[in-house]
């Protein structure tokens, strides 16, 4: 790991002013991603700005019945929050299916949504990676790509986004409140991320120095009727092969509203709009869920070792819809 300078930010304004003005400065909070990548020489910041002293850890109800999660709330704080567990079960379930108890005590939710891919070629500086070094090539295309993406990829990058939490956020219409040099703005979670295209090094719409202040979960009947299903190589403490967040509002036996998010199949948390469209207005039964699950694989293509993710996506969507709809 390279030597690095350190500053502890006493205020949000000073943190943003410092990181925005300095090339090679990074925020650090939980540190579970930044420090990990620094040890691998994938991140080589000249300056770490410690934001853990900022008052951004509160979890509170919003006037409209939602919940505002401070960006420095830990994964454990949010998973255990009664407000989150009752109104947004998919969010709590996704967090509890993530990482380990120790890491969940450290990692913040602001950092979680901005975490980097687990692609082994991204994490190994002896390998080619367009995300790490644009124009360098992608070793994963013809390499060990069992964990990689089957949709939203490009010929430059087929990495997958590892966040269970962000996948769940897609289904509860979450808003990301950020602040930067040009002030405050609010970004719907699905608009935070960009696909790799020919610039895999650009992963989101944030400007340099822009800081996530909070993530707002918006209350809805479908958020209350939500569930998270994660399929992985071992039962705990492992990244997903495929995960599905499903949120359904069912009235009189029919699906009134639906949200479906797919995790670890795309370079960003993937919102399955066409699956949602296939559910709305239909009876909430096995026939509907089967048909919707088949639609989930439209446009998917494998790269050899990850071909299995396509049928696995279909089956995971089917089961997750059953869990959300109470007819598993």
């Amino acid at each position: 790991m390279n030597p690095v300078r350190y500053a502890k930010a006493p205020s949000i304004a000073e943190a943003i002013a410092t990181v925005s003005a300095e090339r090679d400065a990074l925020y650090i909070a939980g540190g579970t991603n930044v420090l990990d990548l620094m040890k691998l020489d994938v991140e080589e910041p000249a300056l770490l700005v410690d934001i853990t002293g900022l008052a951004l850890r509160t979890i509170e109800a919003t006037p409209s019945g939602g919940v505002r999660l401070g960006a420095l709330a830990t994964m454990a704080d949010v998973a255990d929050s009664p407000l989150v567990r009752s109104g947004f079960p998919v969010v709590s379930q996704a967090l509890l299916a993530s990482a380990s108890p120790q890491l969940r005590n450290m990692a913040t939710i602001g950092g979680n949504v901005l975490q980097r891919t687990r692609c082994a070629y991204f994490r190994d500086t002896s390998q080619d990676c367009n995300k790490r070094k644009p124009g360098n090539g992608c070793s994963a295309l013809a390499g060990v790509n069992r964990m990689h993406s089957v949709i939203g990829t490009s010929s430059h990058c087929i990495c997958s986004h590892p966040s269970d939490f962000a996948t769940a956020l897609l289904t509860v219409d979450a808003l990301v409140h950020v602040t930067g040099m040009s002030g405050n703005r609010t970004i719907p979670i699905d608009e935070l991320y960009v696909l790799p295209g020919d610039r895999p090094d650009i992963e989101n719409v944030l400007q340099p120095g822009e800081l996530v202040q909070s993530i707002e979960l918006q209350a809805s009947p479908h958020a209350r009727g939500s569930a998270y299903l994660k399929v992985r190589d071992r039962a705990s403490y492992e990244f997903a092969l495929v995960s599905v967040a499903a949120a359904l509002e069912i009235e009189g036996g029919n699906v009134l509203q639906a949200r479906v998010g797919l995790g670890s199949v795309a370079p960003k948390p993937w919102r399955a709009h066409d699956v949602e469209a296939a559910l709305i207005g239909k009876p909430a039964n096995a026939t509907t869920f089967d048909a919707a699950a088949r639609i989930a694989t439209r446009g998917m293509r494998g790269y050899g070792q990850n071909d299995y993710k396509i049928p696995l996506t279909m089956r995971t969507v089917r089961t997750a819809l059953g869990l959300a709809g109470g007819i598993a």
């Binding site: 350190y6 540190g31 040099m181």
Partner: protein, 198 residues
């Protein structure tokens, strides 16, 4: 701009300012532009004060030094083990402000002002902590390398008051890997303390 009235000016400038005044979360661009950038420490050694096992210690550390390396190499507290050094195995588990964390993924400089407890701080003199006794009684180890991390994690697990059936213990202890495979006895040891039968 003939239609740019005073009223419009006030709406555009004063209302956002008012919102910022009412909501401490909102920070204006002007506020950010007006502050000076932060003073920074390092990259060479800088003064760092830690509170470890009830003792306050003043050190000179580089900002990049992890809590794990500091405990082992600077303080001689080698009970905390380095397994993977990437937050995967749990051998480095310690308590920071009472919560179990991976010390390999923690910068020592960021542990300032917090209470750090290691495996060496668990016993009361020669009297072992109940979890240490339970690991002995249930033979919850073979080589012992993961054991300090297992015990620190297990003590925190009991404090978290989770369900204590086998499946829950396995799930909530999953951040600690045992390559000898002593899991059955580890689960028995943890359950015995969690259920008050140690």
């Amino acid at each position: 701009m003939a239609d740019f009235t005073r009223r419009k000016f006030l709406v555009r400038v004063a209302l956002p300012a008012l919102a910022i005044g009412l909501n401490p979360r909102l920070v204006s661009a002007a506020q950010i532009l007006s502050v000076t950038r932060l003073p920074r420490a390092g990259p060479g050694p800088v003064p760092v004060s830690l509170l470890v096992n009830g003792k306050s210690i003043d050190l000179q550390l580089e900002p990049r030094e992890t809590l794990l390396d500091t405990l082992r190499d600077k303080l001689g507290l080698t009970g905390t083990k380095k397994g993977c050094d990437q937050g995967t195995c749990g051998a480095c588990t310690v308590h920071v402000d009472g919560k179990r964390v991976n010390s390999c993924m923690t910068l020592a400089i960021m542990a300032q002002g917090k209470t750090v407890t290691t495996i060496e701080g668990l016993a009361n003199g020669d009297e072992l902590h109940p979890m240490q006794r339970a690991f002995l009684e249930h033979d919850g180890f073979q080589c012992g390398y993961c054991t300090p991390g297992q015990i620190m994690s297990a003590v925190a697990f009991v404090g978290e008051r989770r369900p204590t059936d086998d499946a829950s213990v396995r799930e909530w202890m999953s951040g600690n890997i045992c390559r000898c495979g002593a899991y059955a006895n580890i689960v028995a040891a943890v359950r015995s303390v969690a259920e008050g039968t140690a």
